[in-house]
């Protein structure tokens, strides 16, 4: 307003178009300032994005690498098969405690053979170098094929999380004085073994496909099973939220009379979209678990809770997409004698499809990253170690979800868990990126111009 009133009365001082008057200059200057502000805002946003991505990748990339120890293990028959009959039932009686000294002794032999100079001369000194999972790995191999007893077999076993973290630069010599899990002498040995090629790094498939592990075996932990949990939840959300949400929006937008009740419903749906997700979690706990007695920690319940949370998002975006379809299309359909339903399903809905799909996928992506409601229905505390038996079992067998798993790892002390938390975030982000790309592709594909 000030532009118009302050100088509006008089004629411009100069009439020449080659000379800018003061008002024009001021207007141009303020336009430039506004542009600069806009560019600045975008720049700051981008900078934060870059910082975020760099932090995530630099912290998490190492989770995809894992240190392994290549060691030939002599599977002495005297200890593993005392009766000498290779009967699987008898072999099972030998526990991992029987295997552990064998592996440690084999590693010590390998150390001596490699010519490494070290004061560590006892088999027990090797314990801290290898993962606690090594014994069960070797035992499983023996049980699967008893004929290897009595021979020497090359095993690629996991290094302990301390060794792994040391080689990745997360554990330093000067910090381990009070660490009872590793000693400086052991680290010296690790350096020599790495040079000898006995300890080396490889791609960590177990991180992507494996199950979570206990605090004492951080090196074994993977996100695979919680990925399955997330997958089952998304399936429940998709199957429930998409049809319910789209049906509700079509009814509200195209059929419902406009009156107090529909106004009230409309306001409520808009408000539901803003309700904190933990509220949905406590609702799920009260209704699905305590009232309906559905199993705790099950992806089915998680999916139901996330469905409640996603529904408003889908309804709002679907209604927006339906509103965006020009009314002339509805008139055209009604004009040739289509019923209301035919006009909606033959013409309006296909045109609204890109918007509906985009909204649905955005809603799913939101649900995929949601942690808070899962806290309340027990999907964070539970650590599933096995994949579900069969497809249907996956819905009800206790499981976790990717964001819950990340939260769980972030709480733990071992640096191997720390990097896994970041690595999990990378995987989660890849999923979200993938879903967004699918949304864009679908939108392009279904988009029609008129």
């Amino acid at each position: 307003m000030s532009d118009a009133t302050q100088h509006g009365a008089g004629q411009p001082a100069t009439r020449s178009l080659h000379h800018l008057d003061a008002r024009t200059k001021r207007r141009n200057a303020s336009e430039k300032r506004f542009k600069a502000l806009g560019i600045g805002a975008i720049g700051i946003g981008l900078a934060f994005l870059v910082i975020l991505l760099v932090t995530i990748v630099s912290n998490g990339a190492t989770a995809f690498q894992q240190t392994f120890v290549e060691v030939p293990v002599y599977l002495g028959a005297a200890k593993l098969d005392k009766k000498g009959n290779r009967d699987p039932e008898d072999l099972k009686k030998a526990t991992t405690f029987t295997y552990k000294p064998l592996i440690e002794q084999s590693l010590l032999d390998a150390v001596e053979k490699s010519g490494a100079t070290t004061d560590l001369a006892k088999a027990k000194d090797m314990k801290n170098l290898i993962s606690a999972s090594a014994a069960s790995q070797v035992r499983d191999a023996v049980l699967a094929d008893p004929s290897i007893i009595g021979t020497t077999v090359d095993f690629k076993i996991l290094a302990s999380s301390r060794v792994d973290s040391y080689l990745k630069g997360r554990v330093h010599r000067d910090e381990i004085a009070k660490d009872k899990n590793i000693t400086v002498a052991q680290l010296d040995l690790v350096d020599q073994l790495r040079d000898a090629g006995i300890i080396h790094k490889g791609f960590n498939w177990a991180f992507i496909f494996g199950a979570d592990a206990s605090d004492s075996r951080a090196e074994q932990a993977g996100i695979g099973i919680s990925m399955l949990g997330s997958f089952y939840m998304m399936l429940v959300v998709l199957v429930l939220a998409l049809p319910i949400g789209v049906a509700a929006s079509i009814y509200l937008e195209e059929f419902a009379p406009k009156n107090r009740i529909t106004d009230l419903i409309e306001v409520n749906i808009s408000n539901l979209a803003a309700v904190p997700s933990i509220v949905f979690g406590i609702l799920g706990l009260a209704v699905f678990i305590q009232f309906a007695h559905l199993p705790q920690s099950a992806p089915l319940v998680g999916g139901l809770v996330l469905t409640l949370m996603t529904l408003p998002t889908i309804i709002i975006s679907t209604r927006a997409a339906l509103k965006a379809v020009p009314p002339s299309i509805r008139d055209a359909a009604l004009g040739v004698g289509a019923s209301k339903m035919q006009s909606v399903f033959h013409h309006v809905l296909p045109l609204a499809m890109p918007g509906i799909l985009t909204g649905t996928i955005i809603g799913l992506a939101q649900a995929l990253g949601e942690t808070a409601p899962l806290l309340l229905i027990g999907m964070v505390g539970y650590i599933a170690t096995n994949s579900p038996d069969g497809f249907l079992d996956g819905f009800v067998s206790p499981n976790s979800a990717m964001p819950a798993q990340i939260y769980e790892w972030a709480k733990r002390a071992d640096p191997a868990f720390y990097e896994r938390a970041w690595g999990g975030i990378i995987i989660l982000l890849i999923f979200l990126l993938g879903m967004n790309i699918i949304a864009i592709i679908l939108r392009r594909k279904f988009e029609r111009r008129w």
Binding site: S328, V336, H346
Partner: protein
């Protein structure tokens, strides 16, 4: 008024297709149409003229119950199609609209192929038994809409890719495809250029052979060119309804005269 060709304006039939008696339309508290009585003849082009907001489009939309889609709209009075009350409880507007087709102000083809646009009506009403019959209906309709020669090689191209005039003729073909008895046109040429307008007007004259056509128009010249009967609406009232010749040469109401001579409007 020189460009109006007022020849051959004699009404060729006396069959009454639609009878409206004492029609009142309310939009909420607004009384949009007041006491309209009109008889629309078969095989005749009837034009509704009048200034903006006079209710001519509203009245047109009463004739195929398109006003039903507006929640606050209330229609009273009798409108009979071939002697049957179209606002009777037993009448399904869907069946009515198959008999009383409509063409809108802005060309609004479905974002589908030309073929699908025309075939949609016959398909949903089950008018054809097989593909060959449907093909025939599509061809006939496009011929009736004087569009066949222009699109016969690209029936499966999107209807939205046509020019404005072609799109409007496609919409006419679509309306014609369900074999309606009455064709309502709500300012069908207002979004078209003069050449496309001329084509559509020519088409309207041809359509008279098969249908009763009711056209709402802003252009008095157009009304004079295409119609045999003209109704002049003003402020929700039907001021005068007579042969087009008479309305434009010797109107009996002073308001009509003022409007066609440009003094009100």
């Amino acid at each position: 008024m020189e460009d109006m060709s007022l020849t051959e304006r004699a009404v060729t039939t006396d069959d009454i297709k639609i009878t409206a008696r004492n029609v009142q339309v309310h939009y909420g508290d607004t009384h949009a149409i007041k006491d309209v009585d009109v008889d629309i003849l078969d095989k005749t082009v009837t034009a509704f003229i009048g200034p903006s907001g006079c209710g001519k489009s509203t009245f047109l939309r009463c004739l195929n119950r398109m006003n039903d889609t507006i929640d606050i709209c209330r229609v009273e009075g009798d409108i009979k199609l071939d002697g049957e009350d179209i606002y009777d409880k037993r009448v399904d507007p869907v069946q009515l609209r198959a008999k009383v087709g409509m063409v809108f102000q802005k060309p609004n083809p479905f974002p589908k192929s030309i073929y699908d646009n025309v075939a949609y009506g016959p398909k949903i009403h089950g008018l054809t038994k097989n593909k060959a019959e449907l093909d025939q209906v599509v061809e006939d309709s496009l011929r009736k809409a004087a569009l066949w020669n222009e699109v016969k090689d690209r029936l499966h191209a999107p209807g939205t890719g046509l020019s404005g005039g072609q799109q409007q003729r496609l919409c006419i073909a679509r309306a014609v495809a369900t074999s309606p008895e009455v064709l309502l046109m709500d300012e069908p040429c207002s979004a078209l250029d003069p050449i496309a307008t001329a084509q559509v007007e020519e088409l309207i004259d041809e359509l008279r052979a098969n249908f009763s056509v009711v056209i709402v128009t802003h252009s008095m010249q157009q009304a004079a060119r295409v119609s045999q009967k003209t109704a002049f609406f003003h402020l929700g009232n039907l001021v005068e309804y007579d042969d087009t010749d008479k309305i434009f040469t010797n109107p009996s109401d002073s308001r009509t005269e003022s409007y066609i001579t440009g003094r009100i409007g």
